[in-house]
């Protein structure tokens, strides 16, 4: 090869960024990061990761007649195996040469476009994964409650009003999404999100897949076939459902053992009683020591509602003096609590739930850590024009392959169907 190709050169340069990616991925309010920090990370191959579970106790105890009585037969512990298979996610970033030329000197641009692009892409990918982590394992980001096709600006084919929760909270601008029928059997087609309004709970898309109706669901890009499988999120592991499957186990086989204790708020506001009901369920089944391991994972909406009850130190106090209460740092820089359980809130969390999670039972089966997609050391790839020649643009990908598991669904609890405070 007579001449060094540009793609070969940039592959070398990108190496220096690679080991920074996992660090860029971390943020303490991201549920996946919390699982990574506090739970297990298991390296796995393409074969299923097996989680042996001691599901039911064995042995038969009872009164005995020692005067020649029949002592009866015995039984043994019931074990079963949960199985996890990683799924892969990618985040594609494409930039043109013009971006480079326009920002390759201090006099042209105030910020290093390369650094900014890596940082932005990483933040967006992390945000996407955290959003998927809020779902119930099928990649459903929202449900269409109504469709508007008239009176929209040019280039917008339809406006979907999304049912709350989660409303439009789990979408982002320019995301490619797919529309499925409510039973997740028929893939109606894909579209690009051109506007997201989480406050008014709608998204606008550039095309309307044929047959799309109200109650259809929207899933993220890349899913195929009927009943697609995505990341097993909070709604997947924290449920009291007795049908369906959980990590390849049939829920109906172990309807009690695989069900997470739940409190139905019936669309009423969050109260201390509901919180105590949920926490007490953990205490009763697993003992008081277990409660000390819980975190209350919830949305900003419910955190706000909890503050309004006047039983916790408000964020206003904690935001004082530049985020630190000057005279009582020791006390107020700690976590806020919900009946003594530390609150971890997230903008992506379901607005109508509070999930009490014991993250020591959560883990990740990782086949591929987050990294650039790599082919023989090359991580940036040229774009080709219609003629077959190079286009003046590059593309690179972030990829990761993992799945989230939980080896004890009964170790948590949740409050569902909470009223969402007004103003959200």
């Amino acid at each position: 090869m007579a001449q060094m190709q540009n793609a070969q050169s940039v592959a070398l340069q990108l190496e220096k960024v690679r080991d920074k990616l996992p660090l860029l991925y971390e943020r303490d309010d991201i549920l996946l990061t919390m699982i990574q920090q506090r739970g297990d990370v298991e390296r796995v191959s393409s074969r299923n990761m097996r989680l042996p579970l001691q599901i039911r106790p064995g042995g038969k105890a009872g009164l005995a007649n020692m005067d020649g009585g029949d002592l009866g037969r015995g039984s043994g512990t019931t074990y079963d195996v949960a199985q996890v298979t990683p799924v892969f996610f990618r985040h594609a970033v494409e930039v043109t040469k013009l971006v480079e030329y326009a920002s390759n000197a201090p006099e042209k641009s105030v910020e290093n476009a390369a650094k900014r692009e890596v940082k932005n892409a990483m933040a967006q990918f992390r945000s996407f994964l955290d959003k998927v982590m809020q779902t119930n394992g099928n990649g459903v980001l929202g449900t269409i409650s109504s469709i508007t096709t008239s009176g929209l600006p040019a280039g917008i084919a339809a406006q979907f009003t999304m049912a709350k929760p989660p409303g439009a909270q789990l979408f982002y601008f320019n995301q490619t999404v797919q529309v499925y029928d409510p039973t997740l059997t028929t893939n109606r087609g894909s579209a690009n999100v051109v506007l997201v309004d989480p406050f008014n709970s709608f998204i606008q898309v550039d095309s309307l897949p044929s047959g799309t109706t109200a109650n259809d669901v929207i899933v993220h890009d890349g899913l195929t076939g009927a009943q697609p499988t995505s990341l097993f999120g909070v709604l997947y592991h924290q449920t009291n459902a007795t049908t369906g499957t959980w990590l390849n186990l049939n829920r109906s086989t172990y309807p009690v053992e695989l069900a997470t204790p739940a409190v139905n708020a019936n669309n009423s506001a969050l109260t201390p009683a509901a919180v105590r009901l949920a926490i007490n369920k953990v205490r009763k089944s697993l003992g008081s020591n277990q409660v000390s391991k819980l975190i209350a994972y919830t949305s900003l909406e419910q955190e706000h509602q909890w503050e309004q009850l006047g039983v916790t130190i408000s964020q206003i106090i904690k935001e004082g003096a530049g985020g630190r209460a000057s005279d009582l740092d020791l006390l107020f820089t700690g976590d806020k609590s919900m009946a003594g359980v530390p609150i971890k809130s997230s903008i992506n969390a379901n607005a109508s739930r509070v999930d009490f999670l014991d993250l020591s039972h959560w883990g990740r089966a990782v086949m591929q850590d987050i990294d650039f997609y790599d082919v023989g050391g090359q991580t940036v790839f040229p774009i080709y024009g219609a003629s077959g020649g190079l286009a003046s643009a590059y593309i690179f990908y972030f990829v990761t392959g993992f799945q989230v598991w939980n080896d004890s669904p009964r170790s948590g609890a949740y409050i569902s169907n909470l009223a969402i405070p007004t103003g959200y």
């Binding site: 940039v10 340069q13 220096k16 890596v118 009683a273 007490n280 020791l330 103003g423």
Partner: protein, 282 residues
């Protein structure tokens, strides 16, 4: 003042038989009609034999009563100070109070699963127990009074808290709080979870902080949460900048301060902070 009382939780005492809702004589200390430690003593109708001493069982030779829960009362100075700060409620009781975790008990009803030290299930029973409300039990907790209407009507309360277990209706949170209830506000411990001793100033400040924030508009509270999210984003942004600082631009061949000609020479002086990696090394 320190009191030491038998543990009312689900720990199994050598004398405590498996519970039965029909046999009051055998009910453990945590049952509703056995709230006082004295009820652990056998009644006249019941004959309790001393434990059979095993020569190798040293634990049984030492004590027959396990004292595992300390109870404390807040000093009057603290009580007066926090009452002055928070004021009195409609029942002429303080809005705020300080309680020791081991002293503050509450009703919890339902199906209890008792486990041994290894987590193995010993037994299950359906009953109402009076147990420490807050954990950890060895900390001081600041509570605030919540009016009864905050818990809804009695009908709502029962609808929400009554549960059926094996055909038995159990009040999972005990009776309706007709005089309101004190709820957890703050645990006196540092950010590492270590014990902080009780002081009037600390309690006073906690009560003042909560009261002050309660009287602010809801919108300000919401803005504070948004400000925290922005701060988190900025912190991450700065960290990301630090991490990527000094790296040769990853995608582009040249950038600020680093002239680079593709396929030619480079005058890059960057990447002094970043680790050196071999080409193609993952």
């Amino acid at each position: 003042m320190i009191h030491r009382v038998p543990e009312p939780t689900s720990a199994i005492s050598p004398f405590r038989p498996a519970t039965s809702s029909r046999r009051k004589d055998n009910q453990p200390a945590c049952m509703p009609n056995c709230l006082e430690p004295s009820t652990l003593k056998p009644t006249g109708r019941q004959k309790v034999l001393p434990p059979r001493r095993n020569l190798f069982d040293f634990a049984n030779t030492i004590s027959v009563i396990r004292v595992t829960r300390e109870t404390h009362e807040a000093p009057s100075e603290v009580r007066q100070r926090i009452t002055r700060t928070g004021g009195l409620n409609r029942f002429n009781e303080p809005h705020f109070r300080v309680v020791w975790g081991g002293s503050r008990l509450t009703w919890i009803g339902g199906r209890w699963t008792d486990r041994d030290a290894h987590g193995n299930v010993i037994r299950q029973c359906i009953e109402l127990r009076r147990v420490p409300k807050y954990l950890p039990t060895n900390r001081w907790h600041v509570e605030r009074w919540i009016p009864p209407e905050s818990f809804g009507s009695p009908e709502t309360w029962w609808a929400q808290t009554l549960e059926m277990e094996d055909g038995i209706r159990v009040a999972t949170l005990g009776p309706y709080p007709s005089r309101g209830e004190y709820e957890h506000c703050f645990t006196l411990q540092n950010t590492s979870g270590e014990f902080i001793s009780l002081s009037p100033t600390t309690c006073d400040t906690v009560a003042r902080a909560i009261e002050w924030a309660r009287h602010l508009p809801r919108s300000l509270a919401r803005e504070a949460l948004d400000a925290r999210e922005l701060r988190r984003a900025r912190v991450w942004d700065r960290r990301a900048d630090d991490l990527l600082e000094g790296l040769i631009p990853s995608i582009f061949a040249s950038s600020h301060g680093h002239r680079r000609v593709l396929g030619g020479h480079s005058s890059s002086t960057a990447n002094t902070k970043g680790p050196k990696r071999e080409h193609g090394n993952n």
